[in-house]
């Protein structure tokens, strides 16, 4: 008997067919790892305006999608209770599960459009938003974007984003860069999810704003969406010895990267965006988060009237403090509701788009926001945070 290091006896010539078939199956399977009930004018009898909600209720982004849904539902419930549309007209949400899958997102968007919705709320991620927009645009139905950070998606008459982009002028990245600049930091490295357009745009904005505040960005440590092992990226950063590391990554990855940095011995300053402000982040990274600065557009403790009203209502409804994703859902639905209120014909998509285009400012859960080019912009000081020991998020203003 000949001894070899091969323990199998089946010839790979025979095995080639199932291997290739298997490879194709594997590739295909893992690639997925993604109306008005009655129309009428605003005058006259009550109408029910059907609004589609396309978010991941199951799948890899369901935690975020469900938070968006909770925020949207609260805003709609408040509007209906307050007879916001007048004449007893109400808003009805038709929720569809995108399963965090692009093909499924396309299918549910078509379903919502065929059901005759007046508007679609969706886009928990850029891949989802990017397939919803062309379909709603084709049907002339306004699309209200949730959390995609892709700055090219908003478009007057077509797609609206209520939440200020962290990368936009005056928003989180810029305000945080100003504060970090005052800390006399000189060099920075950016950890970035490089195959996500929104995160790439965010990293580019950080680079610009940090540079404007005297902090030189030395380089980028890139990860891909789905990565969970950050030891090599952390080594890359630690080797460069930057004063500051900015983490611009997808939720979950950001906490893992901070942990890898601290576990690897990085002692510099770390800053990131709102997704790192959740209890889930602390559960994952633990005390390694201590001292990490978080640039947020929403903080439940912020002393803003609209914020505190929202927090009270949310706690009464769900018995827990709202997260920034809840706030995004709430603020997005509020913009839509304001558009419906201003619309000349309540359940008409075109009239809704025209009315939403005309909205230029609002007091929101983020504080005062101005709208330009179908995009919300911060119009004041944002409530920044820093992680303290024991998982406490404290205000950061200096």
């Amino acid at each position: 008997m000949k001894k070899t290091s091969s323990f199998g006896a089946r010839s790979l010539r025979r095995a080639r067919v199932p291997l290739i078939v298997g490879g194709v199956v594997l590739a295909l399977a893992l690639a997925g790892c993604s109306g008005a009930a009655s129309s009428g004018g605003s005058t006259g009898s009550a109408v029910t305006v059907k609004v589609g909600l396309a978010v991941p209720l199951t799948g890899s982004l369901s935690a975020v999608g469900i938070q968006h849904q909770d925020g949207v539902n609260l805003a709609v419930k408040e509007a209906n209770a307050a007879n916001a549309l007048g004449n007893g007209s109400t808003i009805e949400i038709e929720a569809q599960d995108t399963k965090a899958d692009q093909a499924e997102t396309i299918a549910v968007t078509q379903k919502l459009l065929s059901d005759g919705v007046t508007a679609v709320i969706g886009g928990t991620s850029t891949p989802e938003a990017s397939v919803i927009k062309p379909r709603t645009a084709k049907e002339g139905v306004p699309f209200f974007l949730l959390a995609s950070l892709d700055p090219t998606l908003n478009q007057p008459g077509v797609a609206y984003r209520a939440a200020p982009l962290p990368s936009s002028p005056g928003s989180a990245d810029e305000q945080a860069s100003q504060l970090l600049g005052k800390m006399k930091l000189k060099t920075a490295y950016i950890g970035n999810t490089v195959n996500n357009d929104g995160q790439k745009a965010d990293a580019a904005a950080w680079t610009t704003y940090l540079g404007q505040n005297g902090i030189n960005v030395l380089g980028t440590a890139g990860v891909n969406s789905g990565d969970t092992n950050f030891a090599s990226q952390a080594a890359q950063v630690i080797s460069a010895k930057p004063d500051l590391t900015v983490v611009s990554m997808l939720p979950g990855q950001d906490a893992g990267f901070v942990k890898a940095l601290r576990d690897g011995g990085y002692t510099g300053t770390i800053a990131s965006y709102a997704s790192l402000s959740t209890p889930a982040s602390f559960a994952l990274a633990g005390e390694t988060l201590t001292g990490t600065y978080v640039a947020t557009i929403f903080q439940a403790q912020a002393q803003v009237t609209q914020t505190q009203d929202f927090v009270k209502a949310f706690e009464a409804e769900y018995n827990r403090e709202p997260t920034y994703s809840n706030a995004i859902g709430f603020a997005t639905a509020q913009l839509l509701i304001q558009g419906l209120k201003n619309s000349s014909s309540t359940a008409d998509p075109a009239a809704l788009a025209k009315a939403t285009d005309a909205i230029t400012s609002a007091d929101t859960v983020y504080g005062p926001v101005k709208y330009e080019n179908a995009q919300g912009y911060v119009n004041g000081e944002l409530p920044m945070s820093v992680w303290k020991t024991g998982g406490v998020l404290a205000p950061w203003r200096s």
């Binding site: 008997m1 000949k2 001894k3 323990f7 982004l61 195959n195 979950g252 576990d263």
Partner: protein, 295 residues
């Protein structure tokens, strides 16, 4: 130079995990002909069991790890008894077991999502995670050393079992010809069961290492290993222990060094481009044709 050495250590550590998974994955395929897509979920579930036992039952980590590995083995056994044996008896061919494994894969993934949700759960490795050795500017985690040692230990142990024991002889006999093995008095049914248990436990070891290295547990943990582990098994030559080991380490190094020196955006294209090249140029893996070993 320090950074290069550090990244090589990171790459070898990552590669060790891929190698272990590739060995477990390849063991089952080369001996039974079953391309098991549920293999990654066995690894995920081993981690889920260990996580729950530590977090909610306060079981000591070593016992939780052992329990997780046992559960993975039982899952493999369940798959064999419930699906593979009946399919084999009814002449299910190659595609039947493959499709069955896809069904198990999807079912176990859905159950994993129900069990732990979609947010990453912290997977703390205690002293395994926190122990580090520093040599100058180089940091080596205890987990890195364990992973590399385990990869070699599993490969060597499996090689010895396969070539030096009666059990190995029986396994090879069954893999060559089930009917002939039965004629020779070998209980093929139990050999098949033993193989899938062994295969599931080995891939679960890879899953545990990955969980502790990343400090996180998600339902997709095993799927990530399945992709690269599958690639490493193919490039190494399915069932070729030396090849799987070398290919696993090569993929780990390639992944880390390409991200460091070329860019993370190109990483997957490089890794899977290599897989494609190997399939075309050397379809039987690094060391060429896998030789049949007759009992």
């Amino acid at each position: 130079v320090d950074l290069f050495i550090q990244q090589c250590i990171n790459g070898l550590s990552l590669g060790a995990v891929y190698a272990i998974f590739a060995i477990g994955f390849g063991l089952l395929f080369s001996t039974t002909g079953v391309l098991n897509f549920a293999q990654g979920l066995f690894a995920t579930w081993a981690c889920i069991v260990a996580y729950f036992l530590v977090e909610f039952v306060a079981l000591p980590l070593p016992l939780a790890i052992i329990a997780g590995l046992i559960v993975a083995g039982l899952m493999g056994l369940g798959f064999e008894v419930a699906a593979l044996t009946p399919l084999r008896n009814r002449g299910g061919g190659v595609l039947g077991p493959m499709v069955a494994s896809i069904a198990i894969w999807i079912a176990l993934l859905a159950l994993a999502e129900m069990a732990i949700g979609q947010d990453a759960r912290p997977m703390h490795g205690g002293v395994l995670e926190s122990t580090r050795f520093t040599v100058g500017a180089i940091t080596i985690r205890l987990l890195d050393i364990i992973a590399i040692v385990l990869a070699f230990a599993i490969a060597i142990a499996l090689q010895l079992v396969m070539t030096r024991t009666r059990l190995g002889l029986a396994i090879r006999a069954v893999s060559w010809s089930e009917r002939s093995a039965r004629v020779a008095g070998i209980d093929a049914k139990w050999i098949f069961r033993l193989i899938i248990i062994l295969s599931a436990v080995i891939t679960a070891v890879a899953g545990m290492l990955d969980g502790f290295m990343t400090g996180s547990l998600t339902p997709q943990l095993g799927d990530g290993l399945l992709i690269i582990g599958f690639a490493a098994a193919v490039v190494g030559g399915v069932g070729d222990l030396r090849g799987s080991l070398i290919a696993g380490f090569a993929f780990g190094l390639l992944e880390v060094l390409s991200a460091q020196y070329i860019g993370a955006s190109y990483r997957d294209a490089i890794v899977f481009g290599l897989l494609l090249v190997f399939l075309v140029v050397r379809p039987n893996g690094i060391f060429g044709r896998v030789q049949g070993v007759r009992a």
